[in-house]
Symmetry: C2
Subunit: 224 residues, 2 copies
């Protein structure tokens, strides 16, 4: 008996030495691990399809530990969504009255495509939330996002007055840009099937972004 106890202690001690971390470090890495695992699972099977057990397994933690950090599945889901939204809101800073539309819009489209290629799961979580009527983020959409796009629409209207771009409905242009970029993550099976590929390569994303920039800028009458 004593031997076993000693062995257990030694094992514990070893783990403590190897992985000895402060409470803050423990908390941070646990949060990160769980959020990453949750994003991946929510992206693939949606909120209802996701089980805490599946997320726990992917995070390499027992299920009860998840509930220690996120009391409910809904809490965890909201935390994942927050991460997604912070990614989504960024990227419009180049769209200003002083900028040239060819550069600003081109950069914006390329940036959106880069985000899609880099964080496809974030895109899918966002898409799932939209499909389900956006119950958690309708506030964000109606406040922050609307205000941001109102502002950018004013910039585009200003460009139009200067003759730098056709007169058009800027909001619908944004819908097209968002849809056309995110489709490479959200509808990946369709894209890959039609392209006859198992998966998209970096080069595929570059081709897609280049054509989208070219077609949309030309279509909006932007001089390059």
């Amino acid at each position: 008996m004593r031997g076993i106890v000693f062995l257990a202690r030694a094992k514990t001690r070893l783990r403590k030495v190897v992985a000895g971390r402060s409470h803050e470090e423990i908390r941070q890495t646990a949060h990160e691990d769980i959020l990453l695992a949750a994003e991946s699972v929510f992206a693939r099977v949606g909120f209802s399809g996701a089980t805490m057990a599946a997320i726990a397994e992917r995070a390499g933690l027992p299920k009860a530990n998840l509930h220690y950090y996120f009391s409910t599945k809904a809490d965890l889901y909201r935390a994942v969504l927050n991460h997604t939204l912070s990614l989504w809101l960024a990227g419009t800073s180049g769209i200003t009255k002083a900028a040239h539309p060819a550069q600003a819009l081109g950069d914006y489209i390329r940036d959106k495509m880069r985000l899609t290629a880099l964080y496809p799961d974030a895109s899918r979580v966002f898409a799932n939330e939209m499909l389900h009527g956006a119950p958690e983020i309708s506030g964000y959409l109606q406040q922050e996002l609307k205000a941001l796009i109102d502002e950018k629409a004013a910039v585009i209207a200003h460009w139009a007055e200067l003759g730098l771009i056709d007169v058009l409905h800027a909001r619908h242009l944004f819908f097209t840009i968002w849809a056309a970029t995110q489709t490479y993550a959200d509808f990946q099976p369709q894209v890959c099937a039609v392209l006859g590929k198992a998966e998209m390569t970096d080069e595929d994303y570059e081709i897609a972004a280049a054509q989208l920039v070219r077609v949309l800028l030309k279509g909006c009458g932007v001089q390059v």
Copy 2:
């Protein structure tokens, strides 16, 4: 007792007279009702989120009756998907070598937008399936859809040889068209929030379609 039995018989008789239908009629309408209810529920909450009880309630039938017509939830889901796919495959018939791209592509885009406005739930069911990796329809995507788009890509290449359209990646153009139209159903909460409206009107759809046609045709160098 006898009175109650008689009353019950009279009631039954009445119902029979009012709603008396052949087995075939019964089967057809039951199928339709269930499929419609299922599409609506699957669209809003996805496969996992949908419960047979919720679908049954929406269809106005007891749950056990659903299982009489569709033995499992997966069967019912596949039936709904089939309906969706039949809608999706149609609409490309105008894209032929003999046609003019401005007319053919314009009609195609307008038609896609019309379908989106008319059957938003079908679009959402399709989107859900894509997000989940398209396990049920990967065969359809890799066979029928790929073949169809290969064919249409050849048509567009032919148009390019004739100088009727810029040289471009036709498949990516289709991705953009599909994404830009379906986003009005799949991402409706975002669209409505940014437009500051409770819901899209017919006029909104016309504006969206008109701008999309104008921008994409111009962007592809199609002479109108």
